[in-house]
């Protein structure tokens, strides 16, 4: 079975932010929540690179480890999802996440946080696929329709790729050989390098509504 991953080819990313816009539009993301963003390193100096970053759906997700209410689960495709019914908005996942993926709507005064929101790899949540309830909480479920995440599908330079990690790695390697340079798959050693590369931590785990 495919192990879903994102791969951003920094040599191709032109910081157009189409992935960010596509994501916001597709899932009706509220103002202030950024499931995906484009980060420019060494801005304006030689060696500048732009990288589109969102949840990397890690093998050993720190968010899932530190969650006090155990609201995370991983699908059989390796996508890390969470249940907004269980989330209490404590913010621990943001402290642990290496990529700054978890986002929170401001729910109360003092900057108190509402239920966490993050990239779902366009896979919705624990609710039944493509129901209105799932859409309202997590956005569309493109994977259930046989489609890949919209951010990658929109990417005009094909810098951002989403899909089976093995296929993405192969495409990236072929590109690098052909053009003669490449700075690697950004974030992969953090997301997939620590533990067994490719294995989901608990596919289809029961209890939190894993699909």
């Amino acid at each position: 079975m495919a192990r879903m991953k994102f791969l951003c080819d920094a040599e191709r990313c032109i910081e157009c932010n189409a992935c960010v816009t596509a994501c916001k539009n597709e899932h009706d993301i509220p103002w202030g929540i950024n499931r995906r963003r484009v980060i420019t390193l060494k801005d304006g100096v030689p060696g500048e690179r732009s990288i589109s970053m969102a949840c990397m759906h890690c093998n050993d997700p720190p968010c899932a480890a530190v969650c006090p209410v155990d609201c995370f689960y991983q699908t059989a495709d390796g996508v890390v999802l969470h249940s907004k019914d269980l989330c209490i908005g404590c913010g621990y996942c943001f402290y642990a996440c290496p990529f700054g993926a978890p986002q929170y709507p401001q729910a109360t005064n003092f900057g108190g946080r509402g239920k966490m929101d993050k990239c779902t790899f366009c896979t919705g949540g624990p609710e039944a696929d493509n129901t209105m309830e799932e859409y309202q909480k997590y956005g569309t479920n493109r994977l259930a329709e046989g489609k890949l995440p919209l951010c990658a599908e929109m990417c005009s330079t094909r810098a951002l790729m989403a899909g089976d990690g093995e296929v993405l790695a192969d495409i990236y390697k072929e590109r690098t050989v052909r053009r003669g340079y490449g700075s690697g798959a950004w974030g992969w050693s953090t997301a997939y390098g620590q533990n067994d590369r490719g294995d989901a931590f608990s596919p289809g785990r029961e209890g939190t509504g894993g699909s």
Binding site: C67, V69, I88, P98, F99, R113, G180, G182, W186, G207
Partner: protein
């Protein structure tokens, strides 16, 4: 000769490496370009801290990779549980053994039946406001720390989420009475908690806890042990309030690294405070006969006062707050 050679060698190495650097910077093929797919470096090692610029208003999202989260995870998942577990179970075990050996510390010569006013209504209000809010925050904090491990297997995910959410709100809201109580405690009791010479004697004999005859070193209104608790509560409570309010306003003052440090400090100080308060509760209840009256009714037995706070008792006698006849006079503050 070597002085001249070294810069030349460095220059030579730099010139050799230049094409690789060039390729990295300007995205052009060079002599180090991979010739087959197997040579392509897919995993960058290691991913250090990487931050850049984002065009969205949330500047903290300019961090691409923050490896510090891994250490924080280690603290939250391993160290916090060990520290808090040890600081709760440890004192309980020690006190249980102590109780079995020493038993309740009795009043020397039994109760006299003559009351001496010790804590006014205001004193007790300040104490119990702080105490109740501290206990509730300790409990809700422990639910959030240990609940996933201990309670989810018992009550299930949806019930635990309800409990955890209620805990989160209680933890936040009870900080307000806690801080008010803490301020009152400080204002009311700081005068009687200034360290003095007699405290050294008390500390040397550990308050007479080991003496068989039940002899106590002299003490004023508060003995050295109580002064220790006072200052630990004042400083610990202040540290908990400061870190707690900053945690309640995420990223208002610090970035993500600061938030992680705040959480670590809050957790460790809270564990230390819980350990201290376990001891405080023990000595105020089953550990010592007559001690609870001070904060319960606000009035202690004369013999208890003579035992534990002789100097304070004598002051009260002089001030006319207590007398040998046992007639209770109205406390000035009440």
């Amino acid at each position: 000769m070597t002085k001249l050679l070294r810069p030349l060698l460095v220059l030579f190495v730099l010139l050799l490496a230049a094409p690789a650097v060039q390729a990295q910077f300007y995205q052009t093929p060079g002599p180090t370009s991979p010739t087959s797919k197997d040579e392509v470096q897919l995993y960058q090692t290691p991913d250090g801290k990487l931050s850049g610029r984002v065009s969205i208003p949330d500047e903290k999202l300019g961090v691409l990779v923050q490896p510090e989260g891994r250490e924080w995870r280690e603290f939250r998942m391993v160290w916090l549980k060990i520290i808090a577990g040890a600081l709760i179970l440890g004192p309980i075990a020690v006190l249980a053994i102590f109780y079995l050996i020493r038993g309740t510390i009795r009043i020397h010569g039994g109760r006299s039946g003559r009351p001496v006013p010790r804590f006014s209504g205001m004193d007790r209000f300040a104490h119990w406001t702080t105490a109740v809010s501290f206990l509730l925050m300790a409990l809700t904090g422990l639910i959030l720390t240990f609940g996933r491990m201990l309670l989810i297997p018992l009550i299930g995910h949806p019930n635990f989420t309800m409990l955890a959410e209620a805990s989160k709100y209680m933890h936040n809201f009870f900080s307000v009475p806690f801080v008010l109580g803490l301020l009152m405690i400080f204002v009311l009791w700081v005068r009687d908690n200034i360290p003095e010479k007699a405290d050294l004697v008390w500390l040397k004999t550990l308050g007479g806890v080991l003496s068989k005859s039940g002899e106590h070193p002299e003490a004023g209104r508060f003995n050295a042990g109580q002064k220790g608790v006072f200052w630990a509560v004042v400083f610990g409570g202040f540290a908990l309030s400061l870190t707690g309010f900053l945690l309640m306003m995420p990223f208002a003052v610090t970035g993500i690294g600061g938030m992680q440090i705040l959480h670590v400090a809050h957790g460790v100080v809270a564990a230390l405070m819980i350990a201290l308060i376990i001891g405080h509760i023990y000595i105020g209840t089953i550990g010592m006969e007559g001690a609870f009256d001070a904060m319960g009714s606000g009035v202690v037995d004369e013999n208890w006062a003579k035992d534990h706070h002789r100097r304070w008792y004598e002051e009260q006698l002089r001030n006319g707050q207590a007398n040998q006849d046992g007639r209770l006079r109205h406390h000035a503050a009440e």
